[in-house]
């Protein structure tokens, strides 16, 4: 096994690193302090111009067909530069556009992917509801067929990009008497029964976007509720064309999305590490830079370990996805869980290294400390990742 990048990939990384450092990072503090829909949209436009938003999507539909290993490696630069911008870009590409890539009908791919690739449309995935997140199959949003339309009613919560979204993938449950025998519907008593993904355009009557939440971290990435008040969605917008596959589909989408969340945490630790090294050499106590003290060294070393080990497991799970390996999903859960847990501790350490200054707004590690926590929640909490990994184990040992 070799870890070698091509010259092309190397120049891709260095050019993207520069773009993130020069064009995105300088705005990160402002975006956090005064979240602005136009500023985040502007950042997404910069990324779209570079080609990042469509980078891993298929070239037949306007993407660039980058391998997952390449895409996730370059993504770390963005996550490091501005976690908020990264989250929005990631949700757009991995949760919405890639959902359509993986499961959309030919017609849906032709219709939506080119504009999603170019960032002309911003994508949103609405899975979570006020009443359910971890237990997604308990969702209550209902879709009722009415001629050539579905009428959708319900409330979606925590939709990343909701306030700037153009295209929404909405998970809803179709009524039980669906004809589709192939899908999960065949057992109407199953809690997965009837769950279906719909592609819903922003202008759809009955789709209402809530006001952006006031969040702890990742404040620059706008999140909101999405209300569906008898939203009228044409039948051809059933994602993949057939009712009842929504739950299975979204789980597969998360299998890749979770690598994206792992990179979110990884980028933040990488920023913590850089800041911590810089400051520990500058700050003097008792006549020495604090970098001379073992307690400080150990904190920094722990960050370095997260970055190195984190990169390895991100690459490994990305590679598993590239090669269609069966354990790609569980590796993604491992990657996300491993990095996110360490990252929260690492960011807390970084703030500690800054002492009182770390507690003050405007100090970068203060923002990183707030941003980092999302890594343990988004796309399945730590607890849920452990459930997934354990399920896989029990399956291997023949328990279920």
């Amino acid at each position: 096994m070799e870890f070698l990048w091509s010259d092309e990939e190397k120049s891709l990384f260095s050019e993207f690193e520069r773009l993130c450092r020069e064009k995105i990072e300088p705005k990160a503090e402002k975006l956090d302090r005064e979240p602005s829909l136009s500023l985040i949209r502007e950042n997404l436009n910069i990324l779209a111009d570079f080609g990042y938003l469509g980078a891993p999507l298929p070239p037949e539909y306007g993407g660039l067909g980058l391998k997952w290993v390449t895409y996730f490696t370059m993504s770390e630069y963005l996550a490091k530069a501005c976690a908020s911008t990264y989250l929005s870009a990631m949700a757009h590409t991995l949760l919405c556009a890639n959902f359509i890539t993986m499961f959309g009908t030919e017609k849906q791919k032709r219709k939506y992917l080119p504009e999603l690739s170019q960032g002309k449309l911003i994508g949103v995935l609405c899975a979570t509801e006020p009443g359910c997140g971890s237990d997604l199959a308990a969702l209550k949003t209902k879709a009722v067929r009415d001629g050539n339309y579905y009428i959708i009613n319900g409330t979606k919560a925590y939709a990343t990009n909701g306030p700037i979204g153009d295209l929404f993938i909405i998970l809803a449950r179709c009524s039980e008497n669906s004809q589709n025998s192939e899908s999960d519907n065949k057992n109407p008593k199953s809690k997965y029964s009837g769950i279906t993904a719909f592609i819903v355009e922003r202008e759809t009557p009955g789709l209402i976007v809530g006001t952006p939440y006031d969040k702890l971290g990742c404040r620059g990435s706008p999140t909101s509720d999405i209300f569906l008040d008898s939203a009228k969605v044409p039948v051809e917008n059933v994602l993949g064309g057939v009712e009842g596959y929504g739950f299975k589909q979204v789980m597969k989408v998360f299998d890749i999305g979770r690598v994206g969340m792992a990179v979110y945490s990884l980028g933040i630790v990488s920023a913590c590490l850089e800041e911590s090294i810089r400051y520990s050499k500058e700050r003097y106590t008792f006549g020495k830079p604090i970098a001379a003290y073992e307690d400080i060294n150990f904190k920094i070393v722990d960050m370095q370990i997260t970055v190195d080990m984190g990169r390895s497991i991100v690459l490994r799970s990305a590679w598993a996805h590239d090669s269609g390996s069966e354990d790609a999903g569980v590796l993604a859960s491992c990657a996300k869980l491993f990095i996110a847990e360490r990252a929260t501790k690492n960011a807390s350490d970084a703030l500690q290294i800054f002492g009182g200054l770390g507690y003050i707004k405007g100090t970068k590690v203060e923002r990183l400390y707030r941003d980092v926590k999302l890594g343990e929640i988004g796309e399945g909490t730590n607890e849920i990742q452990r459930r997934i990994i354990f399920k896989r184990l029990t399956k291997e040992f023949g328990y279920s």
């Binding site: 120049s11 891709l12 050019e15 520069r18 570079f50 080609g51 990042y52 980078a55």
Partner: protein, 252 residues
Amino acid sequence: MKILVTAKRTPDPYSKIKLKPDGSGIDTSNIKFVINSFDEIAIEEGLRKKEKFGGEVVVVSIGTQECVEQIRTALAMGADRGILVDTGGRYLDQLGVAKILARIVEDEKPDLVILGKQAIDDDANQVSQILAELLGWPQATFASKVDIDLNSKKAVVEREVDGGIEVDEVSLPAVISADLRLNQPRYASLPGIMKARQKPLKTVKIEDLKVDVSPSVEVLKFEAPPQRQGGKKVKDVDELIQALKESKVLPF
């Protein structure tokens, strides 16, 4: 119109420069190399003119095989093809570089050559001037604005001089050197980088150009600038003035 631009491989201005212990040069083991910042501006200007008038942008780099990286970056930005003059690592002075470029210009016959006003490594600021002289072409250095009129085959170039802006008119073909405020270079895009691989890149061996590049300048030694000495705190303005006088900053 056909435009020739240059892409010298120089250390990233953000990298920390260390010297080799024997002073024979800089230690390149841990530094990142980029296109000379002023050449990047020259390339951008070439691309903008091509976008306006059509034609072709040819990028030249002189150095070792590693310069392919810089040529590819320029191609990724949008240049059409590249020429690497492989020196096999030998030392060239500014006259040597200008002579090589003059040979390339003879072959390529561009309507315009745009170079960075200087390279950020040796800061010589000589090549564009020598090149214009060798070619017998008009030159406009330190350009902060370039307007081209294809009908009259003229370029109007604004130059930042001490007292303000000097406006020169040169007839084409000409040599122009780019200053900092000429433009803001674009970023190579992902599709651009992917396309760059397919663009033509020709390598020419320096020997095959048959120009005499034996240097008239010899590099004796590299030395780091002296370490900054610690400052001194003063009580009041009087003491400050006294200190400035003692250190001969104030002449009286």
